[in-house]
């Protein structure tokens, strides 16, 4: 059984190293095929492990070797396959395999084809370490590893200034959050004596509330970075600079969900500090509506989908914060499927449109790209949460959680956001695939993607549709380790009003979006319309001016402060002091050198002066020594 664990964990690494061998050579197809096969192997192992865990309820626990052992600290490389981690493993390997196969087609003409697969598989390996580790240090290894691979992949087209800038921004923002996580890990070690999950959580029951609160806060700060919660969210939208398969894998399905995974894994801790949980949920609700509002007006299809991810992450944190850990994990899973599908579909569109991102320049593509249209539409339906697609079972469940736990404000915010979600998703779909064929004005010649890419995307489509039916099986399995709270609105009438009401609200939003964006008046906005100049629009399209704020008030001052430290302090003050001391000696030497004039007359004068001085001193001291008693009386009389 351990064999499956190691296979699932290390196959992506093997694939990555294989592709790395071709790193500097020109593109060869095998550098894409072999990593995909290795991922398929990993997927197979994960599935076997899933079946095992599902049917027998056994978990597998291995310790591979010691990592750090000093003092009382003992950190091994240890891995655990339990119900939570096997769920994550399934999601990660499934989406990764699909994305790998897709990327063989997407990156077809790219010079860095081999390098791309090396990085992509390395990312999957880091993510597997993250979800399979049995201690916080291993989690941190995977945490930073996915950060590294994200940097490599966002900045993949490194000749583009915007891409490498976005990569650096992502890495640094993640690092800020990682500091919080590191402090949390330190707190855990010094208070519980171990970093293993089981030992630490068991010992936490005995800690006082304030320590637990700090641990919870710091760990969540780490989660905030990875899952791009406000205010560490700007990197996610900018990360769309990377190739679309990267966005599909990392920024929809896996890396950004690491934060949610952390909170779910640490549920025993967060159950002890419900006020922090409430904060997490409130922040999640805020992020949900915040991101959705920015998606309403954006003119970059990948950014819209990115904001959508951000919004859905908010939903997941609401569930996790309110204690509904299994619900959060379920939504994570369902979301991974339809969001990845959306991204891959957007990739097809971009490929067809020569990497154009503005949906206003598209339109009517449904005629040329039927397959993509169907997939994206169905994915958006799932995202909107229409019965019986997956989103209904996961997203609406979160709404129920909010309602049942009596957090009506959160419920209302999430409900409103659901409407916004449907609106902006279908705005994009409508603008791209329906209406007039505006692309003809710009000289594009779109065509559908390679058949095998569509075939690769289809498992995601299937899962996006049927994932809801897994809910009960999933619930039975995962509640071995997670709290098994069931969320039912007890009053049947209220329940039906809620459900039907939500569905109606969502369907109405969809129709409104369709009507608005398939009409004949849709044109490419050119900055002159009244709406574009309105304050609300400007606020939203500039992301509430937050990136501007960061640039002006954080980045620039840091740079200037660094310059000041270098030129004014290090050079003018610290170094000048050192040189100054040296200069004092040098100047003293220069001045006293005058004495050596070589002139006998002057030297004789100095001799006389010196003799007189020494003689006087001798006389004075001699007198003082002889009359020391009287001097003491005199001085004491003066009160000295």
């Amino acid at each position: 059984m351990e064999l499956f664990l190691y296979t699932a964990l290390f196959s992506p690494l093997v694939g990555s190293l294989f592709a790395a061998l071709f790193g500097a050579s020109p593109k060869t197809k095998i550098a894409g095929v072999v990593p995909s096969i290795m991922l398929g192997v990993s997927l197979l192992s994960s599935t076997i492990l899933l079946v095992l865990v599902l049917t027998t309820g056994h978990t597998i626990h291995v310790e591979m070797m010691t990592w750090m052992a000093t003092g009382n600290l003992y950190i091994p490389f240890g891995f655990v396959v339990d119900q939570v981690s096997v769920t994550m493993m399934m999601v990660v390997t499934l989406v990764s395999t699909v994305v790998h196969v897709y990327a063989i087609g997407y990156m077809d003409h790219d010079k860095g084809f081999n390098r791309f697969f090396s990085y992509l598989s390395a990312f999957v390996f880091s993510m597997m370490i993250l979800v399979m580790s049995d201690n916080f240090a291993g989690l941190f290894i995977g945490w930073e590893g996915v950060g590294l691979c994200s940097w490599l992949l966002i900045g993949f087209w490194y000749h583009k200034e915007s891409a490498s800038w976005a990569a650096n921004e992502a890495f640094i923002m993640n690092r800020i959050a990682d500091l919080g996580m590191l402090i949390g890990i330190f707190l855990i070690y010094w208070n519980t004596g171990t970093l293993q999950y089981d030992g630490a959580f068991a010992a936490m029951a005995n800690l006082d509330a304030s320590t637990l609160t700090w641990i919870g806060i710091f760990l969540f700060v780490g989660a905030m970075g990875k899952s791009a919660q406000f205010p560490l969210h700007t990197w996610l939208a900018d990360a769309m600079e990377g190739p679309t398969p990267v966005s599909a894998l990392i920024h929809a399905a896996t890396m950004v969900t690491a934060g949610v995974y952390l909170v779910v894994r640490a549920n025993e801790l967060y159950a002890l500090i419900p006020h922090i949980g409430l904060f997490i949920a409130s922040l999640g609700a805020f992020v949900a509506i915040f991101a959705a509002s920015m998606a309403l007006v954006n003119r970059d299809i990948k950014r819209v989908i990115a904001y959508s991810t951000l919004s859905q992450l908010g939903y997941m944190f609401v569930a996790a914060g309110l204690g509904a850990y299994w619900v959060a994990l379920f939504h994570l899973m369902a979301h991974a499927f339809f969001k990845a599908l959306l991204f891959l579909g957007a990739g097809n569109v971009m490929h067809a449109m020569d990497s154009e991102l503005d949906p206003f320049k598209m339109g009517g593509l449904g005629k040329k790209m039927k397959g993509t249209m169907i997939m994206m539409t169905l994915a958006s339906v799932a995202l909107a949460g229409i019965y019986p697609f997956a989103g209904f079972f996961s997203k609406d469940l979160i709404l129920e959680v909010g309602f049942v736990e009596h957090h009506y404000i959160i419920y209302t915010v999430l409900l409103f956001t659901a409407g916004l979600t449907a609106f902006y998703s279908f705005r994009i779909v409508a603008l791209i695939f329906h209406g007039e064929e505006r692309y003809k004005l710009f000289g594009f010649h779109p065509h559908e993607a390679y058949k095998f890419m569509l075939v690769a995307m289809s498992p995601l489509l299937v899962l996006a549709i049927i994932a809801g039916s897994f809910k009960m099986t999933y619930f039975d399995m995962v509640t071995y380790v997670l709290p098994a709270t069931e969320y039912h609105v007890h009053n049947h009438l209220v329940y039906w009003i809620m459900t039907i009401g939500t569905q109606l609200f969502v369907i109405l939003s969809i129709f409104y979006a369709y009507k608005k964006y398939t009409s004949r008046d849709v044109k490419v906005p050119d900055g002159t319309s009244a709406m574009e100049n309105s304050f609300k629009y400007k606020l939203l399209i500039n992301q509430y001016y937050i990136p501007y704020f960061y640039e002006e008030y954080l980045v620039k001052p840091y740079r200037e402060l660094s310059e000041i430290f270098w030129t004014k302090i290090d050079q003018k003050i610290v170094d000048a002091t050192v040189d100054g001391i040296a200069n004092v000696f040098y100047q003293t030497g220069e001045k006293t050198r005058v004495m050596q004039s070589g002139n006998l007359s002057t030297m004789l004068k100095w001799m006389v002066a010196g003799t007189v001085a020494l003689l006087s001193l001798a006389v004075v001291f001699g007198l003082a020594a002889r009359h020391s008693g009287e001097i003491k009386i005199f001085l004491s009389g003066l009160g000295v």
Binding site: R593, M595, G598, N599, L600, S601, V608
Partner: protein
């Protein structure tokens, strides 16, 4: 008025001061030698006077030593002075600064 020890010591001091000022101020090497002689002789007077006061002959022995040494020093010094004068044709102290640091 009795000429006591003090008078001799005062005389000696005055002569010493004259010699000192001469040593400090004279620019001519020959004049420097004169001033040095005055210094030495001032000390001689003081030695002799004190020796007579204490009735100890050691002081007067010293005088002889000093006279002898002064004479030899002047002899050597004048010899060097003549050589220098032959070379540079002047004996101004301000021109003798090859030992400048």
């Amino acid at each position: 008025m009795e000429i006591g020890l003090n008078h001799y010591l005062v005389l000696s001091t005055i002569l010493f001061a004259i010699g000192l000022v001469g040593v400090m101020r004279r620019k001519n090497l020959l004049m420097l030698f004169f001033a040095t002689e005055i210094l030495l002789n001032a000390v001689n007077i003081s030695f002799a006077a004190i020796s007579h006061y204490y009735g100890d002959l050691t002081g007067q022995m010293f005088v002889f030593f000093v006279i002898a040494i002064a004479a030899s020093e002047v002899a050597v010094g004048l010899g060097l002075l003549i050589v220098w004068h032959k070379k540079h044709n002047n004996i101004d102290l301000d021109n003798m600064s090859t030992m400048r640091g």
